[in-house]
Amino acid sequence: MSATGTLKVQLDTAGPYVRQQVNVIDSTTLELVASPACGEEVEVPAGTYVVSATLPSGERSVGVAEVAANELSELALAGPAAAAEPPPPPPGAGSAPGLEELGPPAGADATPATSGWFLRFRVRTQQGFEADEPQLDVLTATSERAELTVRASGEGILFAQVARAGEVPLTVALPIYGPTSSQSCRLTLGGQAGALTADVSLPDNPQVDAVARYLQSGHPAEAAGVLGNAELLLQQKMADPFGAALGGYALLRSGQLDRLHHWPRNLAGMFPWLPDGAVIAGEEAALEGDHATALGFVCDAARRGLPVFAAGFSLLAARLREYAGARADAFGENGGLVVEAGQHLESVLRVLPFVDFARVSFAFRGARVDDPATSQEPFAAGGDWKEL
């Protein structure tokens, strides 16, 4: 047996608790030898290794480590490049010469925006959606970009509504809630004229923020890995149900059902105001073939309202469409819920065409948070809209 040494890889990341998984690759055979977490010591045969880590942004950091027998070798991988800015949006979408657009002919409704940013908030309570005024810290606000910190003011899931002149307002769910550890988030507004964007990040919670960014960049396995045991987030004194939900989505997406082992049911039970817990519990049951239980959770989730994360809405819509058209006898004693699933599906379909599934946070276009289908008109100032 060849002599072994120990390798420890460090990665300069946003926070000490963000421990990305790294690939340790034999430099000769190019085989994957180990996949430890950053900071974790791993024993490998003495030799040369290429070490790579995918950063939450999707960029890759690569280094080379020499591991000597019976020694600890440490490698520091470069972290994210200075202040990763979001990629610049492409100029003028939609009418490139030589390209064919599938779908209806491009309309003339993309009016260039020239005014400032307008904002208002809605909170979902048991009575429905109500106006809310959370605490805001505006960090920057130019005509191209605005950045602000939003702090939860109480109970109820908070939705920010963002608008510019000439565009349909954008509504985005915020993963903050008073009585939890998730009390603030950063909202970054930008985008070219006609393509308003609102990105949500969690600078005060770098671990969960990294999970979100891994999911955004198309790395669900890394997202699941960086969170470790998402269930633990429910057991802390100040639980983090949003982090747990993101962890649940990452595990579902990456096919790691064995790591869920039904803790999403605790998430659904402990946080009845959060639709995402019931969505994840339902999806887990469905993937296991227990569609009767799944239907129960799916209807429960739909009764709770709109999920906080786009993955939740996607899963909810897909399962509602599946169950609403099914025979009731496929669901045992929950068969009576098939009709209810159909009713929820109708509500979901009124939102679905306007959702941006490319984002982690649940976001859709429409001025009315309770009915985007009837509020697709360009923004008009007034009411409780406030300019930043």
Partner: protein, 398 residues
């Protein structure tokens, strides 16, 4: 229905593991006009018009499957091909001038039969691989659903969506103990206007499969061409940007995992496509000054989708710092075991090459010697997919 391609285990009726593909591309719509005006007889057509890229795209992907796709554990068995090319494509796209006789029009009746046969083929062994690619006008429901692709005879009757392929309903039906456990769905369509989605329940039901309400396949990955907030774009003659990006990810290092698989091969996996494909779609769209976002859904366990025959060619780009060093520097890239890949290569101001995936050493010589720059004898270049880029400092420490 005779598959366009039938080979390997699929020809002798055995159930040995193989890959079964169903490829559908619709550019010609019987009841759509050229300009999106209402169809004949006042049919509801959502303002859709004839298009020029989906059949090109479907045939491009089918030909890639036929000629290049490789799976050691499930070699290609069948490709069922349904194409409805537009007149423009038949006149201007050489491959579509004479489509194979086995490629039948993508009408409701034909697609229904093809889906049924594909389902039957995929359901004989859990080790099979199932691939479905569909391109055309569509209604995107959600990334975890699969969407609806409109077929050639869309809008034949008032229940217009009877003439569509319901990818979500097909996917939900692809279950059972002997069903292919590795399933890949590529939906290369863009949404129609929101009112179609809002009313889709009352507009008929597309081709699907009965849902057995069993567990889901181990891998059931859905790759979408566009989100509801964007349009899917296509370049007539070359296919949609989505299929161009897809084939690039499969044919180059773009989509390849950064290490060899346990069987010593290089592979594009279900999860490498999740990050590589949307990125490439976005880049291609940006090159046209346009915007397109691809998304993914479903279960994405990390299994190989396509195995390369050899090593991928990995783009490397090595620059020098500080400025000025490149003018007098020559590079040599070598593998200590196998020899030089190149020598005496000038930095202009970077060395940008494609090299077989590997771990190499770069030697930088300064000719003539030009202080404060210094030679570098062994700079390690881990040329692993998808690419390697680095700037090498060649000055003495200050």
């Amino acid at each position: 229905m005779k598959p366009w391609v039938e080979r390997g285990p699929a020809t002798d009726g055995s159930s040995d593991p193989c890959t079964h593909a169903l490829v559908v591309g619709v550019s010609r719509y019987e009841f759509l006009t050229e300009d999106g005006s209402p169809g004949p007889g006042g049919r509801e057509t959502f303002g859709l018009q004839q298009v020029k890229t989906p059949a090109t795209s479907a045939f491009l992907f089918a030909r890639w499957l036929e000629s290049t796709y490789r799976s050691p554990t499930a070699p290609l068995g069948t490709i069922r091909l349904l194409l409805s090319p537009s007149e423009w494509e038949q006149e201007n796209v050489p491959d579509l001038a004479e489509i194979p006789v086995e490629a039948i029009p993508a009408t409701r009746a034909n697609v229904e039969e093809a889906v049924s046969e594909w389902f039957a083929a995929c359901s004989t062994n859990a080790d099979h691989v199932a691939i479905l690619y569909a391109s055309g006008h569509g209604i995107q429901m959600s990334p975890d659903d699969g969407g609806i692709v409109l077929l050639e005879d869309f809008a034949r009757f008032p229940s217009v969506l009877d003439f569509s392929l319901d990818v979500g309903a097909v996917r939900k039906g692809m279950a059972g103990p002997t069903m292919a456990q590795r399933q890949f769905y590529f939906v290369d369509a863009c949404r129609v206007r929101p009112e179609a989605a809002l009313r889709f329940q009352t507009l008929g039901s597309g081709v699907g499969l009965p849902n057995p309400f069993a567990g889901t396949a181990r891998v059931s990955a859905v790759y979408f061409a566009a989100t509801p907030s964007t349009e899917a774009l296509g370049a007539p003659g070359k296919g949609t940007l989505f299929v161009q990006a897809l084939v690039e990810c499969l044919d180059t290092a773009l989509g390849v995992d950064d290490h060899v698989q346990p069987d010593r091969t290089w592979a594009v996996t279900a999860t490498t496509l999740v990050s590589a494909l949307p990125k490439r779609v976005r880049e291609l769209a940006e090159a046209f000054g346009a915007e397109q976002t691809a998304t993914t859904g479903g279960q994405l366990e990390d299994v190989p989708f396509h195995t390369l025959e050899g090593k991928p060619q990995v783009p490397i780009a090595v620059g020098l710092a500080p400025d000025g060093a490149a003018a007098v520097a020559l590079g040599r890239l070598f593998d200590p075991q196998a020899g030089d890949l190149f020598d005496g290569e000038a930095f202009a101001p970077t060395i940008a090459r494609e090299v077989p995936a590997g771990n190499y050493l770069l030697e930088v010589r300064l000719q003539p010697p030009t202080p404060p720059f210094k030679d570098v004898s062994t700079f390690v270049v881990p040329a692993l997919p998808p690419a390697y880029a680095e700037t090498l400092t060649v000055a003495e420490d200050q």
